[in-house]
Amino acid sequence: MGYKTIVGLEIHVELLTKTKIFCNCVNEFGGDANTHCCPVCLGLPGAIPKLNKGALEFGIKAGLAFNCQISEWVKMDRKHYFYPDLSKGYQVSQDDNPLCRNGYVEIEVEEGLKRIGIQRIHMEEDTGKSIHTEGGDTLVDYNRAGVPLIEIVTAPDINSSEEARMFLENLRNILRYIEVSDCKMEEGSLRCDVNINVVDTETGKKTNITELKNLNSFKAVASAIEYEERRHISLLEKGENTAKETRRWNEVENKTVVMRDKGSADNYRYAVDVDVLPVVIEKEWIDEIRDSLPELPHQKKERFIKEYALPEYDAGVLTQSKELAQFYEETNKYAKDPKQVSNWVMGDVLRRLNDEEMEIEDLKFQPKDLADLLEFINAGKISNNIGKKVLREMFETGEKPEAIIKKKGLIQISDEGELEGIIEKVLDENQQSVIDYKNGKDRALGFIIGQVMKATKGKANPQLVNKMVRERIEKR
């Protein structure tokens, strides 16, 4: 008995253009309610929309980055439905002639690279935003109405929550690399709906597709898929089927709940929007955009492996964001050992950033400062552990490593004469440990070395202490 999960995703991404898709109101998150509105985005009678060249360019850029074919021409269609945050009574979208088709994104699964197909990417406008008050009213802000979106629709090629998460991460990284969107789920600039069903691989029996909404993080996407997997399978096992319905993810209770059933299929009455004139996309323009594409995450990763001789894992982590990759490369310009830089960036730097929910751009110190710090360590002037302390200080104050080391007197003690006295004193105070070590208890050595490090506030050169302590004990 086996079951296979089948998942397809629909992802809406807000584009980072300066203006809205059909008017020159600014496209900006936030702002006082209803201050970025004009007759076009409010849908006032007689207003004439004009397609934003920048939005179209971003759409094409995304299509190319996802290996799609770009349509030779563009028309827009009206998708009719009623909702207060939809100013015109229809959303301008694309129906039968999407801007991009037949692309893919690769993810790494155990068996190697797996292609997740992208069926289409189309352009559309965002809607306004409704707030439902406790008093029973709905307040509407149309600042977001007309913000350019692309909707990315995948093929049902995803077979687990883990694959969905990897796909979304890759998709987001690529969109950020090409700078068409900031992809902030918490601000709604990336939104993801899930279509899921399960097939019994023995009998071929399939459950009906459930649509999942209200997924506010990649984690929510993964949890909702896992929840639905279990729900679909348990129904199949009972010989039952799922209802064709839309369900909402409830983060608090960790489960999905029915939103509406799809029994009466939506009828959007798509019709060509003849107000928006059609546009022929010249091949030269597409070539120009293709040439302008930056190095994409997987290309950068390959280069890091070759150029810096990094393990695949390191290269993958460091190229997750363009900014992180840039920080790494910049540090490397001043440092000698790419693997050491990688260890520090992936280790202490990233860990601290994650703990504080900061981005690499928020760092108070420069790549060169990290390289300088590593140089102090490599030259034996400070120990690795002291280096970590200095880095913590750099995080907080942004001070140069040299200044911190001087100010705090952290220069490593590598002078045998200076250490000798300290070691003798420690040995005198811990005679039992000396005896223990001589009797073959290796652990006692560690204890003694620890005491010496403590006495020097961690500043003693550890290798030297190790060597000297052994010698001194031998002599006793």
Binding site: T17, K18, T19, F22, C23, N24, C25, V26, D32, A33, N34, T35, H36, C37, C38, P39, L42, K50, L51, N52, K53, G54, A55, L56, K75, H80, F82, Y83, P84, S130, I131, H132, T133, G136, D137, T138, L139, V140, D141, Y142, M259, R260, N267, R269, V272, V274, V276, L277, P278, V279, V280
Partner: protein, 94 residues
Amino acid sequence: MISKEEILQLAGMCKLKLSDEEIEIFGAMFSNVLEQVKGLDMVNTEGIKPLYFLNSANKSLREDVAGDSLDREEVLKNAPEEEYGYFKLKKVMD
């Protein structure tokens, strides 16, 4: 002839409530229009590509440059009610 169900479905999508009498009236009107449009079916369109626009001049793109929006008072002029600069409506839930 358009059926009563179809009229009701259309009305539902338009959020309209129709009386029995109105259903009759609209039914007759819709049937009439559809009958006339059916005349187009007589034209042989085989092998002819759909034409969406008569004007296909390719100068219809707008540069991505910000301009002025309306003042908020202007925006809210037609609002049934307003609160904190928002359009205020009766509660709508999906």
